[in-house]
Every structure is written in C-alpha cells, then in structure tokens.
Amino acid sequence: MMCRIGQQPEPQDAGGGRTSDAVFAALLEDSAEELYEFAPCGYLSTLMDGTIAKINRTLLDWLGLEREAVVGRMRFTDLLTVGGKLYHETHFAPLLRMRGEISGIALEIKQADGGRIPVLASSAVKHGSTGEPLLIRTTLFDARDRRAYEAELLRGRKAAEEARKRAEADRARLQEALAVLQQSLLPDSLPTVPGVEAAAYYHTASPDRLGGDFYDVFPVDGKRFAFFLGDVCGKGPEAAALTSLTRYTLRAAALHDPDPVAALTTLNKVLHERYAGSGDPRYCTAVFGTIEPDAATGEAAIHLASGGHPPVLVLRADGTAGYLPTPGGLLVGVLPDARFATAGTTLAPGDTLLLYTDGLTEARVGEDRTSLYGDDGLLRFATGHAGRSPHALIRALTGLLDGFGDGLDDDTALLALGVPTSSSLSSATRSH
C-alpha cells in the first residue's frame, strides 16, 4: 500500500461510464485531511528535538492515546520501547541527522495497555528556505506480520547455523575415526631387517575416505623377510574391509609357506571365496616377495610374484634403473584359479627395490592436468635417483607427490628396500 498525501487519482478514461464516475466521486470525497488521519499507516511530525507536533488518528489508535496527551507533551522516543530508544539514539537519530532521511528501520512502539506493535519507521527532515532543518516527518508501518516472518527467518538461520556446526563436529569425529582405521591397515613402523634398509610412505588422497592401498614388511623365518604392496579396487569402508582381509591373509599365508606364488594363491582363494558369490565382486592387485640378506656377500636375494600389479623398479648403485617385468599375472580374487608372474633379482650394496601403486604413475601432470606422469616419467625420475638410499629415495618421491598438487587424486603407497653401501646399521622407519 502506498502512503502519500494529496495525490488524487487521475481518471483513466473520460468515457468510463456511470459506475466509474460514481467511484471517482467517492474518491474525491476522500480529502487530504481524511487521508492523513485515517491512512493505513501512522504519521508523525516532530520538532528537531523530537517533540511531537502532529500525529494522525491511525497512530493514536495504535498507541491507545488521546491527541492532547501526545502533541507538545511527548517526544518520538517516548513512544518507543527502551530497546528501541537506545537503537534510536545510537543509530536512527545520528543517521537521520547526517543523511536527512532514513527508511525501513524496525522499531517497536508501546501501547497504553502495555502491548507492543512492531513497526517499520521511515523519517525525513524538512528543511527551511535557507536550508536549516525545521521538522522531522515520520511514517510508521504496522510490521507485525512481517516481523513474525522475519523472526521465522532468523530462527531458521540460527537452526541452520547450529546444524552446520554440528555437521562440522561430526565430520571431524568421523575423520578422526577414519584416520585411526586407516592406520590399522598399515604397519606402525617397519621392522628392522638385518643388512637391509627399508622405507615407506603413504599418501592419503582424501581424509574423508579410507584408501585402498596397502603394504607390509615382516619376518617369516630365521633368514627371510616377506614384503608386499598392493591396491584393492574401490575406496571407502568396503575397500578398507578388503584391505584388512588381504593384509592379514598374506601375513598368515606367508608364515605357512613364504613362497610368493603360494602366498598370492592363498589370497586369491580367500578373496574369491569371500566375494565371488556376494554380488559385489572385489579384487586387488599385489606384489608379494621375500628378501633374504646374505651376510657373507653383503647382498640380498629377492623373489617376488605379481598379481596384476605394475612392475617393480630396481635402482642400481651404478646409476641405472629398470623395471623388473612381471607380465601376465592376473588380478587377485577374480578367478577361482589364478596364475601369477614371478621374477627375481639380487640387490648389491647401493641397490634399491621400489614398489609403488598406480596413484604415482597415474597422477595428472602438465599445464592443463591432462597427461599422466606414466611409467616413463617414473623411470626417468628413478634413474635420476639411482644409487640413493631407500630413505633418500622415499623423501625424493614424497617431494614429487607434493609437487603434483591436485593432479594427485588417488591414494599412493611407496615401499623401498635396499642394501646399504656401508656397514652402517640399517634402520626401519616409515615416513608420513
């Protein structure tokens, strides 16, 4: 509803007929004075100090006051609640003074019977011919419905804010639980292998999701240590369950028979039995091997088998590097009887064996992040670091992974086993 004084409607159509003539006649009866007194909003004129000089009937009715009690006796702020008075003094009045007008401010007026009416107040200063302020005109709109609606909005906003805080707390708790669970899928630290240096690194792509990469190193008998590294299909809780099953199956199988093909065959049977008929077929790729240091020669013999996993890299002390091919090995857990590819090598002092998951080779690189880092990229990098110790190699690779930034969107596991060049004690730690 517009709220203006002295505007008279213009006839739209001279030939509008008898009915509209009657309507206009009735409207013309609505004098400016009547419009002022009974307008559907409150009108108020005050002196510059706030003393009320003129007030309309509508507002007097809202207030439950008589004109004589108000005009010349009360100030605008006297009509307001105390909170409204404070707001008026600290915000409304200063702004009105400086800008000459102010609009749409939410205030509450007090009624004689103790009730309150929320209003939206707008004021404008009338200036004299020389620019001096003369009086303040104020319009008050009944804002009961609107304020109820706004209160709803504010309540909604507060509820949303609380829900957001709760969700954040829940998320933090979940991430904490996931981190603990993730840790349980990986060894706390690598064991000390006499005559061998071992280092590992695990990159988690998303703190929200459990990853599906795994690795481990553990003793199997007096002479040998077993090691494995792999990648289960998928992510999240189901993948984590599969990872857990895989890790403990390989450890148990290796204690029974540390032959690499035997260990992977046992794993294949277990996974196939567990998942083939479940309607949710799941599998993994893995490299399983044994390392047997020879104190007499200072070398270590490697025997390994691969089930569908990318070939391991051997970095030699002389500065060369090459893949140790394991072609034709099948994914572990897909078929009831699987064939696995075997390979072997001997690590001399200064040589290092590197196992990795495809998060590394499938990192997206280049300006537009469209090309993959790839086997060739990794081979070049490895050649550049051949002759370095396993720890130095893992540190360099960690730097490489960090450099991929958001081009690295998958979990990545790295495991390096090497024979130290000097007689220095081998250490076994895992970097994070």
Binding site: M48, D49, G50, R75, T77, T81, V82, G83, G84, K85, L86, Y87, H88, E89, T90, H91, A93, P94, L95, R97, M98, R99, G104, I105, A106, L107, E108, P118, R147, E150, L153, L154
Partner: protein
Amino acid sequence: MDVVRRNNVTVTGNPHGPVVVLAHGFGCDQNMWRLTVPALARDHRIVLFDYVGSGRSEPSAFSEERYGTLDGYARDVVEVCEALDLRDAVFVGHSVSAMIGVLAADAAPERIGALVMVAPSPRYIDDDGYRGGFTARDIDELLESLESNYLGWSSAMAPVIMGNPDRPELGEELENSFCATDPEMARVFARTTFLSDSRDDLKKVRVPTLVLECTDDVIAPREVGAFVHDAIAGSTLVTLEATGHCPHLSAPDATNAAITRFLAALR
C-alpha cells in the same frame, strides 16, 4: 597488521597544530564527527578512526575475545596513538568512547594529555545507590532491536563493508551506508558497552578533563553526568542545551564551542 589500515585511520586539519583524537561511540563510525572536524581543523591536527568492528575497519581483525571488553577497544586507541607516535593528544570520546579514553589514558599516559568526554556513562544499568537509567532487561531489548535490523544489512551491506577495492561503483552506496556495521560485531560492541561498569576507572584519571552532558539525554541522564564530574577530580562539567545522546550532531555549535574553549585553555 597495519594499524592505520585496520582502524581506517584518517588524519586531517592543521599538521602543525596540537593533536585531537576524535573517537566514535557505539552505533556509528568516524562520520559522526562530520560537524566537529571543520570547527577544529584550522588550529588542530585531527585524528579520526573506526574501532575494529565498526565503520570501515578491517573485519578480519575482529575477535569476540578482545572486543568483549572495553580494554580491547582501549588497546585500539593506544595502538593508533603508537602507530602515529602521538604524544599528549587530546582524546575526545563520545558515549562509551569517553570511558574507553579513560582506560587508554591510564594504559598510555604519555600518549593522552587531556580528555573530552561527550555524553559519557560509566555504567548504564541501575545499581544500589546509582541510577544509570536502564535495567538489564532494557539492554536485552536493545540487543533484540539490533537483531531485528539485521536482515537488511547482511545482503546489501556486507559486500560494501567488507571492502571491494575492485569495485569503485560501490563507493556511492557506501556513502549511504556509512554507519552500517556487521550485526555480529555490533552485538559484541553493544553487549560490551551496555553491560560495562567503569565507575572505579574514573578515579584513575590524572589529566585535564571536560565532561559534556546534554540537558535531555535518553542514554546518559544528568545524574550520570554529575557522577562522572564528581568522580574525576578537577574536571569541568558543561551542560549543553541539547536533546538526545549526540550533541555533536544535534547541537554542533554549542558542542564545538565548549570543546574549543577547553582546548584553548590547555595551551
């Protein structure tokens, strides 16, 4: 952080004159001194600023912990004085800022040499044998008023206040919204202001002090002006023929005359 930027510090007036710091109260910003600056500019170097959380101060500098006490605001004053290396400045504080000035002068006596307290109140809520003019319930009502004038702010004003150096077209809009304040920060300032009790701090004042009160102030009634005057030994009380809590806006001539007289007597 750069304090000058953080507190939106403006320096104007006579660069060789004695320094006057003008500090706004709760509800607006340094624009409140628009009618005061011209009267003092010829003979004084004038320093204006916005408290963090008000006007065009740096929003990221706000913390509820610091600005939940008047001491936090007093630190703003001291830090502005230090940033400009002010000495013996006259601190003119409106409303709650008058009390903030008392705290700042106590914390950094070498920086502040005199106080002008415009419509001060050391405690707004009534207490045994003390009439501040308000009850605790009244203050809750003010906080509600702030809340109900919240909706219009956040959508329209936030981008302007948050600073948009890349969008100069917002400047004009800013002209119309200079007293807009982030409601969350205003709420903290309101709570800190109206729940404060600085009556004991008045006794610490050791500098020449002018107390300006209004004949008809809803927020700081005359009893409060008398209380402040009594508590500060040697202070001068001037009662301005003015209605409301902002005599520097409603009665600028009388206010400026009183301040100018006080400044002249300091020389």
